[in-house]
Symmetry: C2
Subunit: 318 residues, 2 copies
């Protein structure tokens, strides 16, 4: 039986792909290669014009975004990004000025994190499609995977949530470039990733597909559930404003939306205090939002508990 990809959804598609191979590769976003006491970690992420480049955002910002979202997967593994490669498929009626803007943004992001461009590919295609390859390093001891969660580990998140969802909603509503710009202005949490690795985190994942999706993935991989306390979710002030202005659910904006690049991670209770102190020293905001417990995922909100079945943003769904 043959079904259109749009009827299947991204994660099921990945399982279909996996079923074609006799071996199984890692569930993590980055692949690891032995390198002495370290792993070289390699990750790839693509964006294309219609799906990921909101009208109104400058090409320079898109270039920055393109590099940043690739570095985010290195951050989520506790690694330090070192190198970047860019495979660009570009329409032939694009002009050289636009290409230079794109490169400028990409270069700006890479410079910010001391990452060197070391190669790539340039091809012609119908739609602008940019594939990045981020290459980083992490000590074998310090690597953060998606598995490794122990019962009673505390679930934490960096930063504040919902800004991206708010920007998207406002951009859809108003079409104003201010919101398009906000959508692509992201920072990979590299410093935070290294810090939580140094202070005993047992797993990490970035929030590129949203909190509910990240939790559902961690839950599946670790065969463990999470109990999340809604009152402890750190919500971005812009999300609060937009929620009021557009009458949108704050919970949806903060938890059930992709495009955010904060890190969700677990840490043993006894290591939390020391981690928090050091995070504060380094200007990194960390919030304890739940605990690993049972086998299903629950959100406790206003005294009531309900099971989380949402999955955040998936590609290839209508």
């Amino acid at each position: 039986m043959s079904t259109k990809l749009s009827d299947i959804g991204e994660r099921r598609l990945i399982e279909i792909i996996r079923s074609q191979y006799k071996y199984r590769w890692s569930d993590d976003d980055a692949a690891e290669i032995e390198n002495g006491n370290n792993y070289t970690i390699i990750t790839t992420d693509s964006i294309s014009e219609k799906s990921h480049m909101p009208k109104g955002a400058s090409l320079e910002s898109v270039g920055d975004f393109f590099a940043a979202l690739n570095l985010s997967d290195i951050a989520a593994m506790g690694g330090t990004p070192k190198y970047f490669m860019a495979a660009l498929t570009l329409p032939k009626n694009m002009n050289s000025k636009e290409l230079i803007q794109l490169e400028k943004g990409m270069g700006r992001c890479l410079e910010r994190y001391d990452v060197k461009l070391i190669g790539g590919d340039l091809k012609q295609g119908t739609e602008m499609t940019l594939t990045g390859i981020a290459i980083g390093e992490v000590s074998k001891k310090g690597i953060l995977r998606r598995n490794g969660i122990k019962r009673n580990d505390v679930l934490c998140v960096t930063g504040r949530l919902g800004k991206n969802a708010a920007a998207y909603s406002m951009w859809k509503k108003t079409g104003r470039s201010r919101w398009a710009q906000m959508l692509v202005e992201i920072e990979p949490r590299i410093k935070a990733g290294r810090l939580i690795s140094d202070y005993g985190a047992t797993s990490a994942i970035d929030l590129s597909d949203g909190v509910f999706s990240a939790i559902s993935q961690l839950s599946k991989i670790n065969k463990i559930g999470f109990l999340i306390d809604y009152s402890k979710i750190p919500i971005h002030s812009i999300a609060k404003k937009v929620s009021k202005q557009l009458g949108l659910s704050l919970e949806e904006l903060a938890l059930n939306f992709g495009g955010e690049y904060e890190l969700l991670f677990t840490v043993p209770r006894k290591k939390l205090a020391k981690l928090k102190i050091n995070a504060k020293i380094n200007g990194i905001e960390i919030s304890e939002i739940g605990i690993a417990k049972g086998t299903k995922n629950f959100l406790v909100k206003n005294g009531a508990s309900r099971q989380i079945i949402g999955k955040g943003y998936e590609h290839f769904t209508k």
Copy 2:
């Protein structure tokens, strides 16, 4: 001043991109990362539906082709491919059967060379765009770069040339799927790459952009010229047939066309005999076609010598 990419050409575009960065990365197709006594080498190559997937070729063959052309860049560096990642941007109206065929072909090629798929990305886009990342290993001593050519080194090529150009011409003429299939049936010259590295090659490049293009690149990087003897070019029997049938220049088919994945390499004269013996033992055809000499490139044909100014296939040209 702003110009359309199609007015600029691929190699000039790469220079424009380079000019945006303060440092310069390698001219080789693969990037190298230190790994003890070895280098981990990483390369990326994209194909998209309209530009690189001839109508009539099965998706399974396209998948095989996609993996093979990425492995070819590892071969050209004398390396052994180990891992592969695939970032697939797919149209949502593609169906799951097609995706499975694509994966089957990709898996078939990877298995043939004992390469493991270790991850990737899956996104939605307007046109099918596949970006591969091949990761290999090569000893520091054995790495083959594009530079390293010494005066009087012998210029050699593996296999026989012109089959791909012939298939393309026939496919354009007849539209028959037999020729489309032939176009995407390529083999990366991994065994040959390792052998020439073991027996003293000083540089190598694959022929994906054609012989004239490869020579012009080697010449530029090494600031050296080549004197090529047309009578020594190993021409594929299919190219000879098609040249007659369609009245096309055999020289054009064999030397000025991309899509071929043989290796062009240089080796010191005194090492040639031993290399040839060992190539023969391993069933690898090697032909001596010229010599590194002077500063310009010349083709000697029928007793006359003319300067090579052709550049083979470039993306982003009309």
